[in-house]
């Protein structure tokens, strides 16, 4: 592949190529449909022979996330990927990372649940991702790609955010974005950071003591006073993230009377529903949250004041719906169209839901 070449690949393959190119130091993962192409592509590309990136097929998801904990604690750019039930297993490691302020990237290519569920696409892990997912008061940054290009682009972004705020970051994708092929231009190669660069940029990391105080990375303290102060520090960090890192995209909202709020693959399907509705003369636009946490609450609140109604289109039972309702605060009606268990809504279904639940209603 030459620089800036347009290629056709799956979202999962794009994640793997982008990881190698953005200077990722290590990948630790365990296969599960529909994301196994990430590990497969890394195995085919053999980045340990080129950039020096380590790729390990771990014995389980628990092992994977704890390898990420360890790698991240040394200031390395490390990641894992899995699908819904596998990411459920990782929640302990993720909350430990949040508590110990260890950066790392987790890619979740979601499938239908609950439990082992199905292997078909779903967005059922919205709550798991945006509410913390593990124990305690914490959040992780959640990016929701809606195209293969964004799968490639969000890899480096996720690492940057994870290290800027010393927090785990999740790329929340699903079986549609992971499995489909689209055109993509991969990011340019960026060298892995040297040990000196890591030591300089991550003074908190366990890089070998060499004349300084110990860097202790742990989520444990037996002193509740200390732990409350640590929690206040985390909450202050989360406030800064909420103020500075909200990302979203708007489509045709200027003249819109109705708004669809949808993320990831549901936003792609909704875009076609908007084409159908606009063709009938319905003035409908879309807001697509790109960061699910932090959520674009202020912008949705602002738009709600001039909308006749808002439809949440999700591939779940209505999870982002809660965040939209909290943003709207009753300013206009909010309805839902959702499918579950691996079933995916069609553009026609979403258009019909908007007509029936908001225009007729």
């Amino acid at each position: 592949m030459t620089e800036n070449e347009v290629v056709l690949m799956k979202g999962n393959e794009a994640i793997a190529h982008a990881a190698i190119r953005c200077g990722c130091d290590g990948y630790f993962g365990y296969p599960i449909t529909p994301q196994s192409e990430i590990l497969e592509t890394l195995a085919l590309e053999k980045p340990w022979e080129t950039t020096g990136m380590v790729v390990v097929q771990a014995e389980s998801e628990l092992a994977s996330i704890n390898m990420v904990y360890g790698g991240g604690a040394t200031g390395k750019r490390v990641m894992t990927s899995s699908s819904s039930p596998g990411v459920a297993l990782m929640q302990e490691g993720i909350t430990y990372m949040a508590g110990a302020e260890i950066p790392g990237v987790i890619v979740n290519v979601q499938r239908g649940g609950p439990g082992l569920g199905t292997i078909q696409p779903s967005q059922g892990d919205y709550f798991q991702s945006t509410r913390g997912g593990g124990n305690g008061d914490y959040n992780v940054i959640v990016l929701a790609p809606a195209s293969v290009q964004e799968m490639a682009d969000f890899m480096d972004l996720a690492f940057q955010l994870a290290f800027r705020y010393r927090t785990p970051a999740i790329i929340l994708s699903d079986g549609i974005i992971g499995q489909m092929m689209e055109k993509v231009v991969l990011p340019p190669y960026k060298p892995r950071r040297t040990d000196e660069e890591v030591a300089r940029e991550c003074p908190w990391a366990a890089t070998g003591r060499r004349g300084r105080r110990n860097n202790i990375l742990t989520s444990l303290s037996l002193d509740p006073g200390f732990m409350e102060r640590h929690n206040e520090h985390l909450q202050q960090k989360y406030r800064v993230i909420r103020e500075t890192e909200v990302r979203y995209e708007e489509l045709l909202t200027d003249d819109a009377e109705y708004l669809i709020v949808a993320f990831g693959s549901a936003a792609r399907i909704s875009q076609k529903a908007i084409e159908l509705l606009r063709h009938e003369g319905v003035r409908v636009g879309m807001l697509r949250p790109i960061t699910l946490w932090p959520f674009p609450t202020p912008r949705i609140a602002e738009l709600a004041r001039r909308m006749k109604g808002i439809l949440c289109a999700e591939i779940n039972s209505g999870q982002m719906l809660d965040d939209v309702r909290l943003a709207v605060e009753g300013a206009c009606p909010v309805a839902l169209h959702g499918r579950m268990g691996g079933m995916v809504p069609t553009p026609e279904e979403i258009a019909a839901a908007l007509r029936e639940k908001l225009i007729k209603g």
Binding site: T118, I119, Q179, M180, M181, E182, K183, K272, E348
Partner: protein, 183 residues
Amino acid sequence: MKEELIIAGFGGQGVLSMGKTLAYGALMEGREVTWMPAYGPEQRGGTANVTVIISDQPISSPILSTFDTAIILNQPSLERFQDAIRPGGTLIYDGYGIMQPPTRTDLNIYRIDAMDEAAEMRNVRAFNMLVLGGLLKVRPLVRVEDIIRSLVKTLPERHQHLIPMNEQALLRGMDIIRQEHSA
């Protein structure tokens, strides 16, 4: 220009790779493309299908419920997708895989006996390229030379020697497709 197409048949018939070859050919011509497979248990031996969208404009939904064109390679797929083709659309089917022919009268229906032809060529692996050739004859979505360029680009080194055979199959497919019904 925009074409929304489904290819459906048995796992192992080359449904997904036919779609990929078509999509890569369209990419070679600078078009927007999406290729969305049914990646479930279908891929592991049951019915397999892939949605391919080719457009001059950015593509919104990779998930569709109706199509301009359907390539149907077995009976269960005909039953599942026949009614999803838009009126005036195109249906191409393989004569070997279909026992009860399509019943719609508002479609352009074409038959291609690609399985029989592949057997005659003593090369079952030519099957999907015969069908693709048939498609390109009746829906010239991508130039044949760009399909060949896409094969050069995507086939691993060890399969590059198969490209002349594939080209021959594409051209033969264009010859043997027959119109059965006009919308």
